[in-house]
Amino acid sequence: MKLPEPQVAVLNAASATEEQPIDRLAEETGLKPETATQAVFELRDDGLVDVTETESVEYELTEEGRAYVDAGLPEIRLYRAAVEAGAAEEPVQMGRVIGAAELDGPEVDIALANFGRKGYGEIDSGELAADGDADPESDPEAVALIALAGGEDPVDVDDEDLDQLVSRNLLERHERTVRSVTLTDAGVTALMEGVEAAETVDRLTPEMLTSGEWEDVEFTEYNVEADAPEVRGGKTHVLRQTAERVKDVLVGMGFQEMDGPHADADFWINDCLFMPQDHPARTHWDRFALDVPPIDDLPEDLVDRVESAHREGVGEDGDGYHSPWSEDFARAIALRGHTTSLSMRYLSGTQVGDLEPPQRFFSVEKVYRNDTLDATHLLEFFQIEGWVMAEDLSVRDLMGTFVEFYEQFGITDIQFKPHYNPYTEPSFELFGRHPTTGELIEIGNSGMFRDEVLEPLGVEHDVMAWGLALERLAMLTTGAEDIRDLHGTLADLDFLRGAEVTY
């Protein structure tokens, strides 16, 4: 019979007549205890050995217990000091005795409690009286503690004293199972017939495969449950993953992706959007103006139409803004505060030529806002921008598009709050309830582009549009609490490496 080496060793060491604990077998065979245990169980499964289990109780002194073996139990030290101070004759001040007994910290309470319990004396109104007849030498707990420390069998110690020492946390009680092994008849037979160790190998080698040696070997068993060393692969940035997911969803809904400049003329960023030039968002405070000359080229007729929309409005009953408008401001270059500048470029026909309805376009690109940098605000962040152009679109189509989009992200109860934007009417802020936290969060801004936006661009159809911050979505999906962990040079590599993938 061929068996793995450890099993052969255990089988040879075991006896048919005497129960041997596994520990002893391990010692005898020179195997590691866990290897021996594994071998024993494998032999048992093969019916070659019997295993019997017995419970045993062992005691071990705690650190505190060992300390008292040398120093004496606190109550005994207190008693001795009390007798020395004459407390057997008449009560003495407690503080003095405690000092003399060199008790401090928690020992004081321990000493006082057990002093009374064991009848070494009485404590009254801060004074301590000792019983002169008490015999600390034969204190059973002290005796037991010293005996156990000396290696004496606990069987010889009174159970009550053992319980007391355990409850005083001077002694720890360990209960353990001892497994003992005896050979079965089949085991004896196998030994008599002869048992050989099978060759075990650690690794499968190319030579074994080509020589056919693999057929005769037994593979060492691994601990397949043990942790393996850490391996790290590269990973797409969590925010990019969210962006990619958004792009997938939008492409699936029939949207084409837009592309265009980050630094652009205010004309495309704001004027085309019918944002009055004295709008608070266009002041120095909100916008990143760039220290470069004005844009070289703008479509002149479009500039005229946009200026006219601002000054006079559009349509028979239209009114313009009562705000100043200057082409110089329109030509100034700034970092885009929203990617609606791309929508304007596309809708105007200057980016990819004139567009006939129906059209759907989107972008997931960076925008720049001069805000205070904190846990939820960045100076640059991603905006998801989208628009749909068709012959006839209603507010209901706008709502339906959002319901469809957000359902893809598990947000199913979109709420629409009427809102005001200079460039859309009607306009809505979108709110959604986070699927796990239940919190109502603002997730976007939307509306139907105004005639004052569309008419100068030469668009004769309805266009609905919307924008939202990608980071909001990503914070919800990744659980990031500080947006700066996600985005920028303060990024924490551990956070990025540990981030859950998005799909």
């Binding site: 470069v292 349509g315 068709a390 004052e452 924490d492």
Partner: protein
């Protein structure tokens, strides 16, 4: 967004709905677009709303909207006005920068503390919004009792005040919250309110000033004089507004007059006499301007915009609930009903018939609309550059790089100095910076001219994290280039760093080769020099024969500068070199 503070008891009184509880009011107001935000320390309810309905910046305006909404009021109401007795004379010294004035006399006001607070709130909130922090329009309200304007007009049959301009130290008055005579220039330096608004007139040669027979009593847009201060004892008020646009201050004036009229005051017109030197020349206006404008909107447009079918009566009723007065105009050839809609003079947001449709939608309740997916088919797709970026990121992460996403804005110190490169250098990263005008933070003052500095900063901030740290980024870089239409040349760069105890040039080049192989482009790396890299261990990245970037071992002085204690091999090149462009 504007916030209006409302005393719910006042709101109940002004709407005549004493039975409405606070919660019911909140819910009704939400329907109008006013969202409950919380309570002030004094127990006023705060509501936030879009900056379009500025007529709702006071409890009076909110109550008016609610009364229409409840159906308690119908039609456009215009306060009765008495004929003018006062003339506001605009003289030729008025600062060119602030030529316009308007106003009204308001008689018989009964201001208790709450009403006075509401008036002050309305004034301040109008300043903050329509008035563009007083730059475009500023309101002064005065106790008429303290003003003496006898018979200064040429006709000699009325009262007048004069809007003029004076030298910064040309006169003195006692401003509000002060007990000293100050010149306007001293107000700007010594008075809290003066300092707050000093910027508004900083460029003016002459400061705006308003006089009556007794002298200077107001320094718009900065502060009023103490002499004419309004209190709960005031019975008659003089309202004046100055600004840069007549329409804007006229509308602000209307909102104030409507609010005071709602509390039972009588509005008395004033004449504004502009001299020949004013922008529109000599003319006389009678204010406030309570003319009711009309706009027409078709039934079809309302239905297609909202996606709901209505009867004419329903539409007329929805207009009425918005405080608008709609009359069905004769339908020509039965094409579509057209509504002539009267717009009250306190509305400042109706630029186009679309704005009226929005009101119908709000009155109907946008919540009532059933969402539907638009029934139009389009073909979706990614932009080519976006696909190229994504494919490059895939290859880089496959090679074990952690994909990063850094800010496009950075500092000159990070992009140049700490990398030991200089603007104007003939190497990658040496482009001229695109500077942000007046940056708030020196950490974000330029657009990054190259991407490696960002990656090295991430290494610097993660020296406590496990190595190796292989980081890559595909992202925007930009440099100043006046030949580009926007003056900014925007490119996407691919950058990677390998920070490990045994990093060498070869590690970087091996990965660069792998990327180029995947995109089927030819890589050559002739020796070059670059101040961020070790001489002799740096090469130009040439892709398909075109110079595209740099690869090498970062120079120890760059590493030490960033507290890095192990070698870093790096590369950076133009993404376009990988694509078929």
């Amino acid at each position: 967004m504007p916030v209006v503070d409302i005393d719910p008891d006042e709101l109940r009184e002004l709407t005549g709905h004493e039975e409405k509880g606070d919660e019911e009011l909140k819910s009704d107001l939400f329907g109008l677009g006013l969202e409950y935000e919380g309570e002030t320390e004094e127990g006023l309810l705060q509501f936030e709303f879009g900056p379009d309905r500025l007529d709702r910046l006071s409890v009076e305006g909110v109550a008016r909207s609610l009364r229409y909404h409840y159906g308690d009021a119908r039609g456009v109401a215009v306060p009765d006005t008495n004929d003018p007795d006062f003339t506001y004379v605009v003289d030729e010294d008025v600062p060119d920068e602030r030529p316009y004035v308007t106003g009204a006399i308001v008689r018989g006001v009964d201001l208790d503390e709450a009403a006075l607070d509401s008036l002050i709130q309305l004034q301040e909130k109008l300043h903050a919004t329509m008035g563009r922090k007083r730059a475009k329009g500023a309101i002064g309200i005065h106790d008429l009792v303290a003003i003496k304007g006898d018979a200064l007009t040429e006709e000699g049959d009325g009262n007048s005040i004069t809007y003029t301009g004076i030298d910064p130290d040309g006169d003195t008055f006692v401003p509000l919250d002060s007990d000293r005579e100050l010149t306007p220039a001293e107000v700007l330096e010594e008075h809290d309110t003066g300092r707050t608004y000093a910027d508004l007139v900083a460029e003016y040669d002459r400061y705006p000033a308003i006089y009556d027979e007794l002298g200077l009593f107001s320094f718009p847009p900065v502060i009023n004089g103490r002499r004419t201060e309004v209190s709960t004892d005031s019975r008659d008020l003089l309202v004046e507004l100055t600004g840069t646009d007549q329409w804007t201050i006229d509308r602000m004036c209307n909102i104030i007059c409507y609010a005071l009229s709602a509390r039972g005051a009588t509005i008395e017109e004033v004449e504004i006499e502009y001299g020949a030197s004013s922008p529109e020349g000599e003319r006389t206006l009678v204010r406030p301007d309570f003319d009711v404008e009309t706009k027409s909107v078709t039934h079809d447009r309302i239905e297609t915009m909202l996606g709901v079918e209505f009867t004419d009566d329903e539409v007329v009723d929805l207009f009425a609930r918005s405080g608008l007065d709609a009359v069905v105009a004769d339908a020509e050839d039965n094409v579509s009903t057209t509504y002539e809609v009267s717009i009250p003079p306190y509305r400042v947001d109706v630029l186009h018939p679309l704005d009226l449709i929005d009101d119908v939608g709000r009155a109907y309740g946008f919540d009532e609309l059933e969402p539907r997916y638009p029934d139009v088919g389009t073909v979706g797709g990614r932009h080519e550059r976006s696909r190229l970026e994504a494919a490059t990121r895939n290859v880089l992460t496959g090679l074990g790089f952690e994909d990063l996403l850094n800010f496009h804005m950075t500092s000159e110190a990070e992009a140049y100095d700490r990398m030991h490169v200089e603007a104007g250098g003939d190497y990658l990263g040496g482009g001229d910076p695109v500077r942000i005008t007046e940056p708030y933070s020196e950490d974000y003052e330029i657009l990054r001219p190259w991407a490696l500095p960002s990656l090295v900063m991430v290494l610097e901030n993660n020296t406590h994290r496990a190595y190796p740290q292989d980081l890559a980024e595909v992202g925007l870089v930009a440099e100043r280039d006046d030949d580009v239409n926007t003056r900014v040349r925007e490119r996407r760069h691919v950058a990677g760093v390998l920070a490990r105890h045994d990093a060498t040039y070869e590690d970087a080049k091996a990965r660069l080769q792998a990327v180029c192989r995947d995109f089927d482009v030819e890589l050559e790396t002739p020796p070059t020099e670059h101040p961020s890299f070790i001489d002799g261990r740096v090469a130009a990245v040439e892709i398909d024969g075109e110079s595209a970037g740099v690869v090498g071992e970062l120079h120890p002085k760059v590493l030490v500068e960033h507290d890095l204690e192990l070698p870093v091999a790096a590369f950076e090149f133009d993404l376009a070199a990988l694509g078929g462009e």
